[in-house]
């Protein structure tokens, strides 16, 4: 379970302050599929980044399985990102010098998993996202949808309980987007917690629960 307590984030750029999050209290259960929607600039990415331990709140707290993430060291946060969370970006963000299977194996490499184990699991994951025939392609040789599926496989690499997607279908066409959502659906059926941000109401409709954000607040 993840829950936040009065989560706030203020960005300061020179004299200008932007309140990206205001007192967000949110609870997400294990195995839940939640979609967050809201206009651009409403704070969705900021929220996901803080929940995903990529960023720190200005005030308030995030608890992941009752661990207060504010109490963790940089190393421990890296371990959480590595073991408990799989993050999927809108821009895929694959390492462009590595091919698909190497990208998928990368989080396992950081976790110190043995090479044969890594490659075997990376292969399985690529088959699972229907890219068994694209394993040795570099990101530049893959379509947007394919790259995003590699990114999903990479997010699954250390078998995390939580999958976070920040507009994972934002850069791909409808067909590819549906395939991505099907994969996320399947993962949710396997018991994983899925948190996705989306603009697309149709996609949000596939989630178990939808939360709307505006001006840094999560609406009821």
């Amino acid at each position: 379970m993840i829950h936040t307590e009065n989560l706030s984030k203020t960005y300061r750029m020179g004299d200008v302050e932007v309140q990206a999050l205001r007192d967000v209290n949110l609870e997400i259960q294990d195995g839940e599929f939640i979609a967050i929607i809201g206009p651009s600039g409403s704070g969705k990415s900021t929220l996901l980044n803080i929940i995903g331990c990529l960023d720190k709140p200005t005030s308030g707290a995030v608890f992941i399985e009752d661990i207060d993430t504010a109490s963790l060291s940089e190393n421990e946060l890296a371990e959480i990102r590595r073991e408990k969370i799989g993050f999927i970006f809108q821009q895929y963000n694959l390492v462009h010098t590595l091919n698909a299977i190497e990208n998928v194996a990368l989080p396992m490499f950081f976790a110190g998993v043995k090479r044969e184990m890594r490659l075997k699991r990376a292969e399985e994951l690529l088959v699972k996202v229907e890219l068994g025939d694209r394993m040795y392609h570099k990101p530049a040789e893959l379509s947007g949808g394919e790259q995003q599926r590699v990114a999903i496989a990479r997010a699954l690499s250390n078998d995390p309980e939580i999958i976070i997607g920040d507009e994972p279908t934002g850069n791909v066409d409808t067909e590819a987007g549906n395939l991505i959502m099907d994969i996320l659906d399947g993962l949710n059926r396997d018991g994983k917690m899925i948190i996705v941000v989306t603009h697309d109401a149709e996609i949000a409709a596939r989630a178990g629960r939808t939360k709307r954000m505006r001006d840094g607040r999560v609406l009821d």
Binding site: N49, G52, L54, D55, E74, N75, A78, E79, R81, R82, E83, F87, F89, N93, L94, V95, H96, T97, L98, E102, A105, L106, P107, F109, F110, A111, R115, R118, R154, A155, S157, N158
Partner: protein, 397 residues
């Protein structure tokens, strides 16, 4: 580990030109240091070898050295002087040499050459044992008459025609048959190359004298040389009833000061070589910094998917280490090659034979230094990379 190298390798290859240029900096730096060290080891050995022939030598000349007048010859030595010197405690061997400049003719060509006459058995004492080696022919013998040995340059350079064994030279009107040609000495001993050697009795005839021009003394202990030199001067001055009749020069102290000059030169050269290594390390630092800047986004992504600071740190350190390590190995090869080329050049230009000595520990040390320099110069940028905040780095495009 293997995958880390893969990652590093891909990144190096992606920036091929820059990696090669950085590597080249290391190659030049390491090659310079290794070449300089190998050559100076070679020089050191050849100098010590040559000087060791002279370290126990005292050269006694009739006359006085002074800064104002230069060398002032006051006469010559007698057989009695030689006998007295031989009896001095600590003297291993004393040999008299009769000689001087004399016109020598070969196939109609006349050249002034230094003639040196000693008892054949004293040859080694006078010129060092190394001189016994011949390019062609044999030593002088005690009962030889009207034959000579010639130095390398006499045989090959002095006259228009090459001179070999059994050729005849005319010295002061008499024919001398060449029985031996000495090997080239070069360096400090190049005077040996440009002399003609005859027996003492032939020399006495040539110069029509009974006098000895120079006495060569070999001492038993190099440490006693200065003391013995003083005693030699006293004895001979007594014989001739003159103050400052003779000058006895020990070569040991000359050898020492030469060696210390050489050591300073060595330090200086290695310092210059090291300077190029410092330049190379700036290159590595610059390349790694650029690599960090260009890959900020990628670093952010890696951190977002769970890389710890030390994962990032080690990737960049490895990158710097691999580039400089390859540079070090290539630099070692280039250094050995450069050392050979330079010794060939030195031989051609100065007629000094130096064999570059490539010590394995210097080669290994060079590669190790390269890797170390790479890792040290890579450390600051790598650390900078590892400390980037994941969100900010991911946002950076």
């Amino acid at each position: 580990m293997k995958d880390a190298f893969l990652l590093v390798y891909r990144n190096i290859r992606e920036r091929k030109t820059r990696s090669i240029l950085t590597m080249l900096g290391v190659v030049v730096g390491i090659a310079a240091v290794i070449a300089i060290m190998s050559i100076s080891y070679g020089m050191e050995e050849s100098i010590t070898e040559q000087l060791s022939e002279m370290a126990d030598l005292i050269i006694v000349r009739p006359g006085k050295m002074s800064f104002e007048t230069g060398y002032l010859e006051l006469g010559s030595f007698t057989d009695r002087d030689l006998e007295d010197v031989e009896r001095i405690e600590g003297v291993k061997k004393a040999a008299g040499m009769v000689g001087g400049m004399q016109e020598v003719e070969y196939r109609g060509e006349k050249v002034m050459v230094n003639i040196a006459g000693t008892e054949p058995m004293d040859f080694g004492a006078v010129f060092g044992e190394r001189i016994v080696k011949h390019e062609e022919g044999r030593d002088l013998r005690d009962n030889d008459r009207k034959v000579c040995e010639i130095g390398y340059s006499i045989a090959h350079d002095y006259f228009d025609y090459e001179i070999g064994v059994n050729d005849r030279l005319t010295i002061n009107g008499s024919k001398f048959r060449v029985v031996g040609v000495l090997e080239e000495q070069g360096g400090f001993r190049s005077n040996v190359d440009s002399q003609i050697y005859v027996t003492k009795s032939d020399a006495l005839d040539i110069f029509n004298t009974k006098d000895i021009a120079t006495i060569f003394v070999r001492v038993k202990e190099i440490g006693d040389a200065d003391e013995i030199a003083n005693e030699i001067e006293e004895r001979i001055d007594d014989n001739h009833k003159l103050d400052d009749f003779s000058t006895a020069m020990t070569m040991g102290s000359a050898v020492e000061s030469l060696e210390s000059i050489f050591q300073m030169l060595q330090v200086f050269l290695v310092a210059i070589g090291s300077l190029s290594l410092i330049v190379a390390s700036l290159g590595i630092m610059n390349t790694t910094l650029m690599s960090v800047m260009e890959r900020t986004h990628e670093i952010g992504v890696m951190k977002a998917i769970g890389a710890k600071n030390r994962n990032i740190l080690s990737l960049f350190l490895m990158e710097a280490g691999v580039v400089s390590g390859i540079g070090g190995v290539l630099g070692g090869v280039a250094g050995v090659f450069a050392a050979k080329v330079i010794t060939i050049y030195i031989h051609a230009a100065f007629n000094v034979e130096i064999a570059a000595i490539v010590k394995p520990e210097v080669l290994l040390g060079g590669v190790a230094v390269a890797v170390l320099v790479g890792i040290l110069s890579g450390f600051y940028p790598a650390r900078k990379a590892s400390k980037l905040s994941p969100v900010e780095a991911v946002r950076y495009e």
